[in-house]
Assembly symmetry: C2
Homo-oligomer: 435 residues x 2
């Protein structure tokens, strides 16, 4: 008879140390919930000398993955090192050894899902990845179990806390992107190299994971359209605010008559849209199901403590399975492996949307006429046009156009035709409208 669950942890950075604290602090509560204590007995890290701010005495720490992977006493492997290559090898080896695995690694699951999920499916242990999307917000469980009997028709989600913090800061303070990014760095919300966050890659990783669960098919991360927030200016924020909108960075997925639409980019949302009031570093997923209608999950989508809470939920589910000597009853991707088939994402060219367009031009008579003519030639009709006032430079002005529903391919070719015109003073701006 086992007397405790034996956990081996890879990585002891911010999330790892928070998990270590959580398991210590919530020990009696967790013991009570699962009927057996959880013990992190071994930890593998890259640098043993680093001070982690927690008491690690009594922990068996090392740098060799075999310390955990070759130990038959380890029941659950928790992978918190991030990155793709080493994490993939650790997880695949752990699965091969029949261990349960818990990971928060969105990049790995998005980019290598096609090999990791099948390996997890064939494994006899539990495979948990709740913290890979939205930290402790129970999105994975909700998609896989909460709406198991329902058809998910569409969802829109704020998936990257850094981008949302930056956009909120720009909206509330009227600052430019760079200053808001600086603020995010000061708050510990942006990495030294913020590319993954601000260019939409992290959000696209998370969207890929959710697509797998929502639509029961295998989605290719690299075929996802993604655009970040680094080109959003204070002018865009200000103009759209005047027009009653908020700019949010969203992952969007929708079943349409053409297949599954899925994309990551900034969006103009009406101010009263529920996602418009999700501010700061919060994440949220708004979804529409055939039977349950509209719903929303909202919470901290990042940070050591919320991530540790998400990892702990999986760890407890793993323990409950181990104690009951059960094999997993739910496929990690929500459908049996044999029906987890590649699913196409509808090409961006076929997207129908309304658009916000901003042109920085040298002001002279006929500019609006020239732009309007090219748009009309591409079957794009204008809903409203504003010229918010002369800029400080003197003759450069912004022209802001809101279009009716148009085809993405038409908009893109119209912009290509407009860009070389001699009155154009900068790259044009395009932001899609609607959640």
């Amino acid at each position: 008879m086992k007397s405790y669950i034996n956990v081996g942890m890879f990585g002891m950075g911010h999330v790892g140390t928070a998990l270590f604290r959580l398991l210590k602090e919530n020990r009696s509560l967790i013991d009570n919930r699962i009927g057996m204590p959880i013990r992190i007995s071994k930890v593998v890290v890259s640098d043993l000398s680093k001070n982690r701010g927690v008491d690690v005495s009594g922990l068996n720490m090392g740098t060799d993955p075999d310390l955990i992977l070759e130990d038959p006493e380890i029941d659950v492997v928790v992978e918190l090192i991030g990155g793709v290559t080493l994490a993939e090898s650790i997880i695949r080896r752990a699965l091969d050894k029949g261990k349960s695995v818990v990971t928060a690694n969105k990049a790995l699951l998005a980019e290598k899902g096609a090999v990791i999920f099948p390996a997890a499916y064939r494994n006899q242990g539990y495979f948990g990845f709740e913290a890979s999307v939205g930290a402790a917000i129970p999105i994975i469980r909700t998609f896989r179990e909460g709406y198991a009997g329902d058809e998910i028709l569409a969802f829109s989600a704020i998936l990257n806390g850094t981008s949302n913090y930056i956009l909120t800061h720009m909206t509330e303070n009227g600052t430019e992107f760079d200053e808001a990014l600086g603020q995010a760095r000061e708050k510990g919300l942006a990495e030294a190299d913020p590319t993954l966050d601000i260019e939409g890659i992290d959000a696209a990783h998370k969207l890929t994971i959710l697509l797998n669960l929502a639509f029961g098919g295998r989605f290719d991360f690299s075929s996802l359209y993604m655009e970040g927030i680094s080109k959003i200016t204070a002018a865009d924020i200000s103009f759209t605010k005047q027009l009653g909108y908020r700019i949010k960075h969203l992952g969007i997925a929708r079943k349409s008559e053409y297949g599954v639409e899925a994309r990551v980019h900034p969006v103009l949302l009406p101010q009263q849209h529920i996602l418009s009031s999700v501010n700061g570093s919060f994440n949220a997923v708004s979804l529409t199901c055939k039977y349950s209608g509209s719903s929303l999950l909202y919470g901290h989508g990042a940070g050591p403590d919320p991530s540790a809470s998400g990892v702990a939920a999986d760890l407890i589910e793993a323990c409950r399975s181990i104690i009951a000597k059960q094999q997993p009853r739910t496929s990690p991707v929500n459908v049996p492996l044999k029906s987890w088939l590649p699913m196409e994402i509808v090409s961006m060219d076929e997207l129908q949307s309304e658009y916000y367009l901003r042109f920085k031009v040298m002001d002279h008579p006929g500019v609006l006429a020239s732009i309007s003519k090219i748009l009309a030639d591409h079957s794009i009709s204008i809903r409203s046009a504003i010229q918010p006032g002369t800029s400080a430079e003197g003759k450069m002005v912004d022209i802001v156009l809101m279009t009716h529903q148009a085809l993405e391919s038409q908009i893109q070719s119209a912009l290509q035709a407009i860009q070389p015109l001699d009155f154009m003073a900068a790259e044009s701006q395009l932001i899609r409208i609607g959640g």
Copy 2:
């Protein structure tokens, strides 16, 4: 080898017929998710002649519970008849026979939880009750599994769609309670006898179920303080709106230094509070956990289709267990039966809160002084006082006071001392402030 899951359903009202439609419409999706079809093969109803608007040919329908309960081929019993006595007997018999059980019956679980949950715990089948609180909003799963590793410190929830619809209607249209109730009836959101909804009983049922899961103890429904919305007037809505608040009907639970606070009553929430923007018949649960911080779940908390979606999620979990030949790995109450012990709710007398008080008085000099004196004698200090203007009746006016933090017992005894004063023209109004 089983070739399908055999379901017996009790009750075929609005939720039952929606479930029947859902299982038909989502058949291929559900087959794919669980690897086996679900078939509702028998239905027990009280009136066989009723037209249910769905094609019931091929269904084995009857009025005798034994039709389902004595059939060893039935794997899962779905109880959708509501009410306490008959439902209790059906569920206990189904559990005794080793069948999995899915129910949406909040009254039963709140009032008879002390017998139903232990019976479910000892049973070898799955016991699901997701739709008993918040319909398809996955609150039960989130409390039991999503935050399994975390400590739930507090939650506030809009648990009754009818009350929320009425309050929203009053807020948006300035109507009195009775007119808003009439609107709710027209929309099919209020029963002929609306007592359960508008007097807070339904919300208290749901709160009791959530308390069990959140705090891992056995809570007594009858010891819960509950107050409905039937005494809220258009004047209260209007005054509180001017002061920057919204009136919401909430279930509130909080771990405090004295134990667990739990209560159901109207609350003044600051307009920018996240629950203030939950309108119409929507439900929402806002919770605070030690590690994951603040989060929110939001969605349709009632209605045939959302309820059917919640029931279907449980049905699928039951099927996944049956197919994997597994016993449940999670206790229905989140902790093993031996540690599911009675837990006390802190007496309302000890509540510390800020208060909105409205006195309808015959206006003459010294009224405010008299009221203030009595409040001061009870150690209650006033944060602000307004007298919004002479009422249409001529000499009757409203005096609205907002207090600083005070003790509930003191407020109640102050109101008892004020009520008999000769200038008092009606019952005084008390609404607690804060989420």
